[in-house]
């Protein structure tokens, strides 16, 4: 169910994701304000009607009038913000986020917030290889997954409200995972794939290879164009879980290496057949214009 049109939103952090939230909500007629560091981002967002009001300092008025506050900040900045200003948030406000790691964030934020303010964590699995509010684009939510990450401190009503936010933003599938399961899943599906792309590009020290490349190399390295300050923080915030997934993948790569080294064609083909069978489940559900 979509969120009641009377609800007022405050977005803290107007980057690509914060800006895309603002756009998706404002375009549907919700009242949306923003707090972000850069004056230019506020001006851009006002000019493009992403927000109704905005401030480049922590404006208590904006915090007080919000029913739902969405934090779209780097993990450590989010924690620092709540430590410093969390007490300004009025009771009954619902706080949510877009952070890509959860175990190191969710319990801490829930413990820091004042009595009566509920934090329900969420991970919108959408993005682009660009950043900044200038690249805000609500269409990134269509056909993407949205994961609600509650703890036992959350009420059912708030979990439901968070799901309604995902629906309002236009996500295709909305799921619920514990912080621990979320972090393991994200280590494999997202962080490991970024590690692979960076490693492959790092190993690519021959000049002129781009003249000969096909689509497979391009597809594998699309995400090698990476925001180093954000991703180094995400990797280190999920360090042990990510290292375990890297170990697991490395074992599979080494096994394939050995089948080639030992010319063990049958075992190699067996790995390829398993890979092919498993990959089928990951084809995108077909929607108009969707690729597989």
């Amino acid at each position: 169910m979509k969120i009641d049109k009377s609800k007022k939103f405050l977005i803290v952090g107007l980057g690509l994701l914060g800006g895309s939230y603002a756009q998706a909500l404002s375009d549907q007629g919700y009242y949306v304000t923003a707090i972000t560091k850069e004056r230019a981002s506020i001006e851009y967002a006002l000019e493009h009607k992403l927000i109704a009001k905005g401030s480049d300092f922590v404006d208590e008025e904006l915090i007080k009038e919000a029913d739902i506050i969405v934090f779209a900040l780097y993990p450590h900045v989010f924690v620092e913000w709540i430590e410093e200003y969390g007490n300004l948030i009025k009771p009954k406000t619902v706080v949510t986020d877009v952070t890509g790691v959860k175990g190191c964030i969710v319990y801490k934020i829930q413990a820091l917030l004042p009595e009566g303010v509920e934090f329900i964590s969420a991970h919108p699995m959408a993005g682009k290889e660009t950043s900044g509010v200038e690249n805000a684009d609500k269409s990134i939510f269509a056909n993407a997954n949205y994961i609600i990450v509650p703890t036992e401190k959350n009420s059912l009503d708030t979990v439901e409200l968070c799901g309604d936010l995902g629906e309002t933003l236009g996500f295709r599938e909305i799921s619920v995972l514990s912080p621990e399961k979320h972090d393991k899943m994200i280590a494999f599906l997202s962080q490991l794939t970024h590690c692979i792309a960076v490693s492959l590009m790092y190993a690519c020290d021959e000049p002129d290879l781009e003249r000969y490349t096909g689509d497979s190399f391009r597809d594998l390295t699309r995400i090698a164009n990476i925001n180093d300050s954000m991703w180094s923080e995400l990797f280190l915030s999920n360090r042990e879980t990510l290292l375990a997934e890297m170990d697991n993948y490395r074992k599979a790569f080494d096994k394939l290496y050995d089948t080639i080294k030992n010319e063990n064609r049958e075992e190699m083909r067996e790995m390829m057949r398993l890979s092919t069978a498993r990959r089928k489940k990951f084809n995108k559900p077909k929607k108009a214009g969707a690729e597989l």
Copy 2:
């Protein structure tokens, strides 16, 4: 320059690539025939006007009337075919291929062919995750690379004719590489990426992950849907070169692993910045409708 319309083509092996060659050429009015094992493939190709004539046995008439013969077979089948039937090819015929490995093929084929028949090897870097003539699609050549792989036995005229074939088929960029450079380049850009995708999918043994995945995992594993009989042959035909590239990539992956393990944020960010800078060169030249 496009090839003279009077030239007659014979395609040996009507799979995805052979069929796409036939389609691209027939649609432009060239005379194209085919020899392939499966009667059903010939019938499909005749019905869809991909070829003018075809045979499911080695028909000497089709070989004799051809000016240019394109072999679109697995590497070992190609060599066996030439060993058995190469003597049927008449002098002045130009023979070319689509084989994805070169060092183990080119010199052998050139030595086997009768006097006066010139073999000029080529690698059209185009494909799909499907196979068979039913999936033939000449549009896979647009915006793709075509590599001519001559040896010192080739005449300049024939190298030029081979480039004209690439142009006639509609490739975006046509390059020339030695068999050895070709195999090193292909080991890194194509074979290694398939190894990575297969390993990642092999390591993916959690159920239900597809419910949470974003596009990065989908992009990395698109090619994990792999033809095991063809790719095991390609890997083993280029074994030493591929193993060297796998070693090189593994070193980069291990280095990134260590930066995470040792919480060496600065070195990690440095690797990410190098990766980002290098990836820029691989953006596709923009054409109408092209993605990056």
